[in-house]
Symmetry: C2
Subunit: 356 residues, 2 copies
């Protein structure tokens, strides 16, 4: 599509996928759904809308080399000097895009989500681009199928007449709710999951940042005046050092005007932990899922992931076993969300840091 | 001691220690108690009684190279052409020993047991040698500390006046009892575990084999007349092919006369499964045992064994995790006895055979 740019945010750490994810190889560089890495699949998904010349990947400086090694054809690979959450990353991409394409529309995408129905995903984004051209800040809302307490929710308001796909004004954003609230949200039909996929004109988001995040806008302005990305790493680091860690949701979306949500019904999955693997790989008759070689004897509900050799599970239930490189992780499925507790422990002991 | 020979039976497979134990590296070649391999420790323990010129190791032909690589100084390393249980292995060693030393006493030792109090062990064997010189077949009986149903038991009869250490005539041998019987055995104080450690004159056991296992005696005789071990592998294989798989317990001990038992109170442990590891390595405050690098978070009663890299256990209880070479095993402690079920599965699938 004309004037459409993709900005893929690839700075996450995805620690819940340790030991396969490591500091130098976070979740977005893993091939968790069976094909290519999450990042490459993200790029491929958006390619028909935003060709590689219009693709931006914003990641941590430490990951630039690893991403280059993937052979991604994206024209712009930005290595942030430090992590500053999503608002600064989006702001800098918006500024750089606006400079070369004042009418540019940008699609902001997390780099580590899975999407099952790619044609429907593209259709939704096309509708969002149409809305964005009318100066809306558009977020894609995922119809929830369970009362998830780990996500933010978007409450829809009035329907907008502007598109084939149902679009709504956003009534409110809600941070991670408690269980009862989440159940109410799901039941009501008025709430979507906030998936972190945004579409807007670069100029529109820049204007909102100026209004709602004046400090960030000032830092960005200074940096742009010094030449922006083209000026190299030193001005970039100076700009970033002075900037607060704020998400675009908190910094802009929750307070902005003309915010719209489009229902995104395309099999979205954020692959939040090892448990999610099950939704992308076949299970045996006892409900065991294996990536790599595995033998399950008198075992059920296991998730085994093995990059070399094999894993044998005997007499265990609902257990996750991951062997990757030099480390093995064992935990019950019910603790899949807590893998970071292991990383905490690794950080505490000097001799264990090499496993991070 | 003069005329004392050690015969170490090293033909076992120790499959319960998979994946550390493999076909080419069975339990007796592993260093499970922290020092050297079980076999080397067995040899070292008996060295003061039977110097290396008098040491025999009888093992499977396929293990000879691996044992040589250990650098064991034993003069005689016999590779059996096939496994035939203990009676043939003991018979052949007895015949070879009797040929060079007609008064020779042999101490028969399993190669994969652990003994904590080595001086007491040697003291017991010295007493046994004294009794063996009086033509007794002596077995060492371990005072049971639990109603184990996996072992055979020896019932003691009248006390024998011949030694410092309590020696008894054997009243009966009992195969693996059921739970209630085992409890009765332990309570009575008259039953010992049969640990497979025997002491006798080579001539005595040969006479009993002739009487109680005439077929084996005949095969042995033929083979000896053809030159025995010195005649090389072909006659050895012909001898063994014609011989039944019988244990010395069943073939001789249960039916023989002049059988004695000496109480062996020296911290014997047959290291029957991964669970036994705990008795030889320190535990942390949550009862976790680790060989190699491990991190246990919110976990208790785990046994982790790791030959390279690390194992992280999160939120698990009473779980065994072993990483060795190209394989990882996970099973509850309560299933440690059933590791063979995994090997069964590996045997069934061609592509998995390499993990055996």
């Amino acid at each position: 599509m004309k004037n459409v740019h993709a900005v893929v945010l690839a700075g996450g750490r995805g620690e819940r996928f340790w030991p396969q994810s490591r500091e130098k190889r976070p979740k977005q560089l893993l091939a968790l759904t069976g094909g290519k890495s999450m990042l490459e699949e993200t790029i491929a998904r958006v390619e028909p809308l935003a060709p590689s010349a219009n693709q931006w990947i914003v990641t941590g400086r430490g990951l630039v080399a690893a991403i280059k090694r993937l052979g991604v054809a994206s024209a712009h690979l930005v290595g942030e000097p430090m992590g500053r959450n999503t608002a600064p990353a989006i702001a800098l991409a918006a500024a750089e895009i606006a400079r070369v394409d004042p009418d540019g529309v940008m699609i902001v995408l997390p780099s580590d989500h899975a999407i099952k129905d790619v044609p429907a995903f593209r259709e939704t984004l096309r509708a969002a681009v149409g809305l964005a051209r009318q100066d809306y800040l558009v977020t894609i809302g995922i119809p929830p199928d369970r009362p998830e307490t780990g996500y933010g929710y978007v409450e829809r308001g009035d329907i907008l007449p502007s598109s084939d796909i149902p679009c709504f004004a956003v009534k409110s954003f809600r941070e991670k709710p408690d269980r009862a609230t989440a159940e109410r949200f799901v039941k009501s039909g008025y709430f979507y999951w906030n998936a972190g996929i945004f579409v807007w004109r670069a100029a529109t988001i820049l204007r909102q940042i100026e209004r709602l995040m004046p400090e960030l806008a000032r830092g960005l302005d200074d940096w742009q005046r010094r030449g922006g990305l083209a000026a190299g790493p030193k001005p970039f680091a100076e700009f970033y050092r002075g900037v607060a860690k704020v998400s675009i949701d908190y910094g802009v979306m929750e307070k902005a005007e003309r915010v719209a949500v489009i229902r995104g019904d395309f099999g979205w999955d954020d692959l939040g932990s090892w448990e999610a693997i099950e939704r992308f790989h076949p299970t045996d008759e006892a409900g065991n899922v294996a990536i790599g070689e595995a033998v399950a004897v008198d075992s059920s509900g296991t998730i085994t992931v093995c990059d070399r050799g094999m894993i044998a599970a005997l007499g265990v239930r609902d257990l996750i076993v991951v062997r990757s490189g030099d480390a093995v992780l064992v935990c019950p499925r019910s603790r899949a969300q807590d893998v970071r507790a292991v990383l905490e422990r690794l950080r505490q002991q000097r001799r264990l840091k090499k496993y991070l």
